[in-house]
Amino acid sequence: MVSAATAVMGANEIEVASPKIVVRDVTIRYAGTPALSGVSLDVREHEVFGIIGPANAGKTSFLKALNRMDMFTDGMKVEGSIEFDGRPIDRLRNVYALRSRIGVVFPLPVGLPLTIYENVALAPRLGGMRNKAELDDIVERCLTRAALWDEVKDRLNSLGSLLSGGQQQRLTIARALSQQPDVLILDEFSIAVDPVTTMRIEDVLKELKHELTIILVTNLVQQAQRLADRTAFFLEGECVEVGKTSDLFDGRVQDSRTRDYIEGKFG
């Protein structure tokens, strides 16, 4: 798997990568009112797929649909088809298996009220891992990759929920990585994080895309420009367009609203 990945990662050969997630004509409603209508797009393996758009565009709703979080949101209904690795996700027998392959990082960091160690060991434990040495290894590896290990290695047994906001966000990323996911979803991860930490996390993401597929929702268009291979622009419940990030940011857009949003001429 790794060798295939590195082969694909070459340079700008992203186009040839196979689709990881295929979304066709998806409409999301809350109590009947559509929050997102008729979205069709592909997320390809080992790309960073950016989603930009102002508040109320339906970005978070879209992410929720991807790992079937609609199941616990009262009144939320998803129509259309979403395939993950070719499997329609609304017909899975074990939805937990799907979720465990998608790591999610929420806008506000969620350090679970467990120790730092337990936060990161939780997913492997849920997967049935009992071996202490293996768990230690995973905890160290994931914290290191989330650029947090050096700051917490001496206090692994203190509560994760007591870390600073920026640290908790990296803890959340470490926890998502401990699931060994195929896809990492980040929803405006930098909203509660200082610029220095944001940059550190962005560097982490650039490394990670060699191993997994990243979907990055952001309200900082520059962040999409820095990280995303392709970017989708959502606006008021509509997916306006999807294109190569470099095209969109060089003004090669299909819809002038995209250009206006990127250039900050909105409102």
């Binding site: 979720r99 929420f106 849920l126 959340t172």
Partner: protein, 311 residues
Amino acid sequence: MAGSGKAINAESAVEFDRRNTDWYVDKAIQAIVFVGGISTIIFVIGIFVFITREGLTFVFDTLDVKEFLTSEYWDPSDEDAPEYGILALIAGTASVTGLAMVVAIPFSLGAAVFIGEFATGKTREFLKVLVELLAAIPSVVWGFIGLSIMNPLIIEWFNVPVGLNVLNAGIILGLMAAPIMTSIAEDALKAVPDRYREAAEAMGATRWQVIYKVVLPAAKNGLLGAVLLGVGRAFGETMAVLMATGHSINIPTSVFDSVRALTATIAAELGETAVGSDHYGALFTIGIFLFLITFIINLLADLVVRGVRKG
């Protein structure tokens, strides 16, 4: 510019010293609330002082504290040689309370998890109302259930001569304590933010894993507090235990033994003692003992609920 700056300063200097109606209203309300709060404390202290004063002369003049706590003979009405040992009464209360918790903890935590984590919409509201109704059943009704329903059932099922015993009272007390424990435990679960559940669910945890690995650990102080309050409830209960234990002095060796509880002893005997007599003093001494234990249990519950733990 300098002139206007000075004028503003002069104005605010006056305003900063003027006490308006809002200020007086605020002070008055503070004073009322303060008096209210303080008087509660004074009442509690007053009750304690009263109980202690009634019991204390007896404690100092007559009582052998060691005998009081370690003798199993309680026979204060014997005119020649009254016995003041509460060990059997402590054993009675402890055994019944213990069994009550064995019954109540699984029931109440199970109910709280179901109401708080699984039930939705109407079911949930209905169950919550039901729990509150159960909590409002007067204890004499529970005692009546023990006496007239549980008693014959226990005699029939277990083939024992009397059905008023530790088993009966333990079950009755457990059922009595369960609703309030459920209610508090459910509050504790509700206090766990949804984002914790969402985060765990998003990583592929099943419903039960979310509860077991994340929600229960996060709520554990509140849950422990619920259990301790249940213990306090069972421990201090009087009427139902008076009716369901059989009220006979005994150090129980099985759940089918009848026992007598500390609280029930006071309730049953205080009316027939002469004020100021040794018997009267002995009952008040039991009162002091109960007061202290209840105080400790509630204090513990309070500390636990507020989460006194390392940061």
